[in-house]
């Protein structure tokens, strides 16, 4: 019995090693088959709020502030307090550049109804727009849009991906 157990252990260890190898194959196979899945592409193209907090408006007059991303909790559209300073910098830029136009795009994670997620993304875009408008920016400079869960940036079916997808993107269209 003891012997059987230990050979079972070795067997399971072997399976474990095979599994590790298989996981790579699965990842590889999946990205080859349907492209864009897997964590290696999940975070590309996203600006970081911390980086942005250091931006000096006066030093950056000729260029729109770096495209900005704000994140949200599941099924919520409350802005993180820590993001408000960043949004104010965007507002200051827009106020200083009345010709500048910004698209505020709301997004959600992949869980639930597609059309309900469109309304959730919309509420997220709206809260960011409201803060910008409170700073005196003309509503004419703002276009709001919700993609719901149609434009994810991370493709895993886990909280790591969900967190990155629940976001509002600011995209400058004219400067």
């Amino acid at each position: 019995m003891q012997k059987l157990l230990s050979s079972l252990k070795i067997f399971l260890l072997g399976i474990g090693i095979l599994l590790l190898a298989a996981c790579n194959t699965i990842k590889h196979g999946t990205s080859a088959a349907s492209s864009g899945f897997g964590s290696e592409v999940s975070t590309s193209g996203i600006g970081s709020p911390a980086e942005f907090n250091d931006t000096n408006i006066n030093a950056d007059r000729l260029r729109a502030p770096y495209n900005q991303v704000y994140y949200f909790d599941f099924d919520k559209y409350d802005i993180y307090q820590g993001d408000i300073a960043s949004i104010r910098v965007q507002s200051a830029y827009l106020s200083a550049h009345p010709d500048a136009r910004v698209r505020i795009e709301g997004n959600t994670d992949e869980r639930g109804s597609r059309e309900y997620n469109i309304t959730l993304g919309w509420r997220r875009a709206k809260i960011v727009a409201a803060i910008i408008e409170q700073q005196g920016v003309s509503p004419k400079q703002i276009v709001m849009l919700s993609y719901g869960k149609e434009k994810p940036v991370a493709f895993g079916h886990d909280e790591d991906s969900y967190r990155l997808n629940r976001r509002v993107n600011l995209i400058y269209e004219a400067k």
Binding site: S34, W122, R123, E150
Partner: protein, 422 residues
């Protein structure tokens, strides 16, 4: 241990999972009707198509026979004793003749025990209409033996999303036969396409397209491909739903800055707001009598289903089971609603009886969405995850029959079942 080994086996051989994606009946009813199907001809696969249709409805156990001695299409030559011995109640026999570039096809449905002819039909068709004729014959057999109208000749619209790190994501709006074959593009775009929905006459599909980086609702003629813009207001233009008479479209707009439901008269394209307040209302769906709309709203906190009496403006809540209910649509008889239900974080397709309030969860695994019911109410098509991809599945309204549709490379989502098309 057996379970663990099975699990390991699945992980080690992912390729096998992908290979199984074709039309797979994963669960059928206990008392399926046994039916014999004799091959029609060596010239085409018409018997195979009928066989798949009947088998995949979950209501039939099909026994295919190739043996020439059993395959005579002449009733006189049918060996009833043989079929009775096989415990087969009904037999389909048929014949194909080639006349120029046409097929002349005859088929008969026989009652083995009564030794009688239940159906006897003849068709002359262009060769390219073979699949359509096969589905039509399946409908006749299904109706004769179950008493219900079949949906083998209906179609399904869906969205295919193909992501490639080196190219823009490709979104396609596709229409295919109900069995997933014969797929054709209605629209291909590098921006999202959403919420396809059939007009009641089956001639047009309304959908949301984000081309030009803004949402707009379009209506496209399926035969000609011609389309027109229905709404393109700033913000949300979403969740179109045709009224039963085809004259109106319920849509979601953000004219008041909150997502609200509007009814649009298609003759004038003028939207009239029908829900009010500072919350999100979406996914309108008309009752079969055209008097009310059901919709998703977060007015109570989490999304739930509400019903609006269009005449009086009165709103009442319909769903109470689960902390999230959305994407509701009426069953064709109006007695129930199909919903996306979340319980303990699991998203499943469910059917709620409007008289008793009883909710029947029809799916499992919790990654399901976008239910769309067949026009005879027998099956519900929905989107789910399988083998790491988005695929379409079907489940019968009683939850007993389950199958997966064949799928192409990419994620398949948002099936929309057509009405009866003939």
């Amino acid at each position: 241990m057996t379970k663990l080994l099975k699990f390991i086996f699945i992980l080690l051989f992912p390729v096998n999972i992908y290979a199984m994606l074709n039309l797979e009946l994963t669960q059928g009813v206990d008392k399926a009707i046994p039916i014999g199907l004799v091959s029609f001809s060596e010239h085409n696969d018409i018997a195979d198509i009928i066989s798949s249709d009947l088998q995949n409805s979950g209501h039939f156990r099909v026994v295919n026979i190739d043996a020439p001695q059993q395959s005579s299409y002449r009733v006189q030559a049918v060996n009833y004793a043989y079929w009775a011995q096989q415990k087969i109640d009904n037999v389909v026999i048929g014949n194909t003749k080639i006349i120029g570039n046409k097929y002349k096809i005859t088929f008969k449905l026989l009652d083995v025990y009564g030794r009688s002819v239940l159906l006897n039909k003849e068709y002359t068709i262009p060769k390219k209409q073979l699949r359509a004729l096969a589905h039509h014959m399946s409908d006749s057999i299904y109706q004769q033996l179950t008493g219900k109208r079949g949906v083998f000749s209906t179609k399904i619209a869906y969205v295919l999303v193909q992501r490639d790190p080196n190219k823009p994501t490709k979104y396609s709006l596709i229409v295919s036969d109900a069995d997933g074959y014969n797929s054709q593009n209605l629209l291909v775009s590098s921006e999202p396409i959403m919420s396809p929905t059939w007009s009641p006459d089956g001639k047009n599909i309304a959908y949301v397209s984000f081309e030009n980086k803004r949402a707009a609702i379009y209506s496209q003629n399926i035969a000609s491909g011609e389309r027109k813009i229905i709404t393109k207001y700033p913000g949300i233009n979403g969740a179109p739903s045709w009224s039963p008479d085809g004259k109106k479209l319920a849509v979601v707009l953000t004219k008041t800055s909150y997502p609200k439901i509007y009814i649009l008269d298609l003759a004038t394209n003028k939207p009239q707001q029908v829900t009010f307040g500072m919350f999100s209302d979406t996914e309108p769906n008309w009752s079969p009598d055209g008097q009310s709309l059901i919709f998703t709203s977060d007015r109570g906190g989490a999304p739930q289903i509400y019903q609006l009496d269009i005449q009086t403006g009165e709103v009442q809540r319909l769903t109470y089971q689960g902390d999230y209910n959305a994407t509701a649509s009426f069953t064709p008889n109006g007695k129930g609603i199909v919903i996306l239900n979340r319980n303990n974080g699991m998203f499943n397709i469910a059917l709620q009886d409007l008289t008793t309030g009883e909710v029947n969860i029809l799916t499992e695994f919790g990654m399901n969405e976008s239910p769309s019911i067949a026009p005879n109410g027998s099956m519900i098509s929905y989107a789910t995850h399988y083998g790491g991809r988005g695929v379409l599945s079907e489940v019968s309204s009683d939850g007993k029959v389950k199958l997966r549709l064949p799928s192409q490379e990419g994620d398949v989502q948002e099936p929309a079942w057509s009405p009866f098309l003939d």
